[in-house]
Symmetry: C2
Subunit: 535 residues, 2 copies
């Protein structure tokens, strides 16, 4: 049996969990895009390629794999920023690039979307990010696999035929981990915990968070030790537990958290990712000797590094802790009370009031996407209910991600049948870049518009930190003409926020909403002020 190369590609993507393909088509891709519906895949066009790349990223984070289709040249280049972000946090996204027909390429004529110099060599920068291109190495005839998939990227070849049998082989081999190494590592970690007087767990966001998060609540339940989250770790764990001690981000953290984390003599650090934004600008201060560092392809106990993985070790560690007599007999230790949240009752809306106050708005099942900058830091002071998730980016830090990634998240959530309300917390600076994402946020979107963090860097009053004044409520409506109803709210006073959050209409789920929050000029969350040594 033979099938088209394009069918082969989309069928493979379906095997990987892709149900919706995002992107911006051009004439090179149009014939290719007749294929996804035949393979049971949906198409969702996005306003531009950057929104499309982030949507594929958001989709992949929730559903495991994302796909983006653009044209070569302008489309390919416009998507690169979003593809870089996916690479940065191990999010598997395939970018399918449509090229002119082989005959056109060999004609030497000047086709549109080229640079006009006869060259078609507009290749993505980081070719190793294309995880799905690696997948093509398991095509049945290995000798021709690379050439075949290069050819898949041209519309004409996508309509050539290839053998279908390769689809029966699995795409990914499992990571190999040596059972003896695993046993030794678990034993050493157990000994370290048993010997410690103040062990804690720090839930971070590295090492492919999605893969190991299912084990975290079990680890905490077994270990019964205080646990903390980092910026990237927030949302991975149940914060309503009495063992939850708060968010640790170095010098900006509440004093009680700094004290508890930095004095701990054993820190089980899950997915440690020491980027500047994730560490309070490198102000964390925990001794390596006290850390058990769980990573994607290694686990380190103090200075000793072992070739195994967080996903292999965590389940076995849970079992080990449950069987440990020493730990069973130990008294449970609770974290110090964390009351960092200043709530000044001013008339105008402050950051210190906003973030803790948002806690009451969130519910179990919510998926919150916060933006790099104010909302990312501020949200560390928002208490999460159980079973709520948070996404944010503390490495790539590309402001404009939240609204666009939420597009993909909405689609993925709907596809899995899970109910999730998507709550986007973003800033006016970020919306400048990808505001058109509003137009496809027709489900469950509650973007909260807040002031940007930029003024907390150099140039507080400088013109280059100004952004144009927009009417976000009007924009949200103007981009939702095909949505039966949307709700928008503008809030500038503390009392207005309280009234809104107490109002039942804000909780009406079927209606997309936008809340524009006008906060005090130049204000910042206390964690951020702390990092910059202000107030």
């Amino acid at each position: 049996m033979s099938i088209l190369v394009g069918e082969y590609l989309f069928r493979r993507l379906k095997q990987l969990g892709v149900g919706t393909v995002f992107g911006v088509p051009d004439d090179c891709e149009l014939a290719l895009l007749d294929l996804p519906p035949k393979e049971g895949l949906e198409w969702m066009g996005t306003p531009n390629e950057l929104v499309g790349a982030y949507a594929a990223d958001g989709y992949a984070r929730y559903k495991g794999f994302g796909a983006l289709v653009t044209t070569f040249g302008p489309g390919e280049l416009s998507a690169l920023c979003g593809i870089g972000r996916a690479f940065c946090e191990f999010v598997p996204v395939v970018h399918i690039v449509g090229y002119p027909t082989t005959a056109s390429q060999h004609s030497g004529r000047i086709l549109h979307h080229t640079l006009g110099d006869g060259s078609y060599d507009i290749k993505p920068l980081h070719q190793d990010v294309w995880r799905a291109f690696c997948a093509t190495t398991v095509l049945k005839n290995a000798a021709t696999a690379t050439a075949e998939i290069d050819r898949v990227l041209t519309e004409d070849v996508a309509y050539s035929s290839v053998p279908a049998a390769g689809l029966d082989a699995p795409l990914y081999p499992h990571i190999i981990s040596d059972p003896d190494t695993e046993a030794a590592v678990v034993k050493e970690i157990l000994a370290k915990i048993e010997a410690a007087s103040s062990p804690i767990i720090v839930v971070d966001g590295g090492a492919g968070r999605r893969d190991w998060v299912p084990f975290v609540d079990k680890l905490i339940a077994a270990a019964q030790v205080p646990f903390y989250v980092t910026t990237l770790g927030k949302g991975a764990v149940n914060e309503t537990s009495s063992l939850f001690g708060g968010a640790y981000c170095g010098a900006g953290s509440p004093a009680s958290v700094i004290q508890a984390v930095e004095a701990a003599d054993c820190v089980l650090w899950l997915g440690n990712l020491p980027s500047d934004f994730n560490t309070g600008m490198f102000s964390e201060n925990v001794k390596t000797a006290n850390i058990v560092d769980f990573q994607r392809f290694s686990v380190s106990v103090g200075q000793a590094k072992y070739a195994t993985s967080i996903t292999h070790i965590l389940p076995k560690l849970v079992t080990g802790i449950q069987k440990s007599g020493a730990l069973a007999s130990r008294q449970q230790s609770l974290p110090p009370a964390c009351t960092p949240y200043l709530v000044p009752a001013s008339e105008t809306l402050t950051q210190d009031y906003l973030w803790p106050r948002l806690s009451g708005f969130l519910r179990s099942g919510d998926l919150v996407v916060t933006e790099t900058g104010t909302s990312q830091v501020g949200f560390l002071s928002t208490a999460l209910p159980a079973q709520a998730s948070v996404w944010t980016q503390a490495v790539y830090g590309s402001i404009n991600y939240a609204a666009a990634a939420a597009v993909g998240a909405s689609v993925a959530v709907k596809a899995t049948g899970d109910y999730k309300r998507i709550v986007i917390v973003t800033g006016e600076g970020s919306l400048q870049l990808t505001v058109q994402a509003f137009s496809i946020l027709a489900r469950h979107g509650v973007p909260c518009v807040v002031y940007t963090v930029e003024r907390y860097f150099h140039g507080f009053e400088a013109k280059y930190n100004d952004v144009p004044l927009w009417d976000y409520c009007a924009l949200f409506k103007a981009m939702a003409l095909n949505v039966p109803r949307v709700q928008t709210y503008k809030v500038a006073k503390t009392a207005e926020l309280d009234a809104l959050l107490n109002d039942a209409t804000i909780r009406e789920e079927a209606v997309p909403k936008l809340v524009e929050l006008e906060l005090v000029y130049g204000d910042a969350p206390y964690l951020l002020r702390g990092l910059f040594g202000k107030k």
Copy 2:
């Protein structure tokens, strides 16, 4: 005397004609951006990097040189599509990329905007597009120039000092052209024109149009032969001349134009750029033997190619024609009448009615920016007044350019003291990508929203060709809160368009305007229908 490297860079840019620097700053660039005002340069922040890159391109097309500042990583990658476009049409734009301090780069720590892998090697694809980086090779100490400018890209080094004397040396040497070759070429061209029975001129858009356009009206005045424009040539020449024969774009052109151009026995082709969109999808049919092909670094007479340039040859050719007795005694030949414009008086608005009708709206001095797709093709049927200019891109073809490039054009026009009304003619598909450009089009902007061309390719009814329904009038207003007044109009009927264009208020110049045109679904300009063999 020594100055900061950053000062050196901005002073150089000022020497090149840059008065405004566009971009999106991040913490890496903030200190650098304190420098432009000190050097007498304005800063204009743009909603995103793509809009910024196009704005710098639009500025450079009008004023000679453009500058863009972004951060590395996300900002750099997001600008690439626009930089590729500038490269494609020889538009000099310098992209200044802010990097973390050298110390930070050497620290090995994971900084935001990196890919989290410890590498800072996020370089633009086409490094040779950075024409201003080439300019740095004339820094006084040539041995260190490259290193110096590489270091300028990092905030800390921008605040180091360097000798200022280099600024006295001119940046560009002139192109060398051999006088004997020039004389021989002019003589051969003259002989070819004198021997021809039906010589014509085709005004195209290649070879750096801005450099040779000043000679074109003189050439036509001297030669007194019929002239035609291509898609890229439109707007370079006075179309009110009795010698103007219309637009030639291959098979889609009016029959009279095809006949006249393809039967001509001598075609002076200025800046020939044979891209698909500029040639009616390669349907042009003019014999090479009959063509004098004027290019940036060559002039070809029939099959013979000479090493000289269009800018060297044109002025001498004008003089040669003026002195030619053979040509002086010849009778003037007028082009055939061109009446291709079908104007059906339907109630709903059609493409064939719209484009000729827009002619009456344009005035001397207007700068029109049309978008790849419908508006680019349709506008070939719009008659231009004298002294009006048109920009469009028929090579790179990245839909989303027009509105964003107009930002830079507005600024450049204002800076030069020339009055120009900027008229943007774009489509809803294009606005999906860079709609945020509206927010800084506070002067002279008249975007006309029309249907996209995409449905004239494969997949007329396909879902992947849908774009969300937006309220463009509301968007324009919502993004112009800091503008005292804007005007918006929505037009769906022929009579409404007539009424609007006859209304004096549309001509009020100080007020930015948007006209949303709702055209018949699936309609296309007749030139486009012709190319696709429809109707």
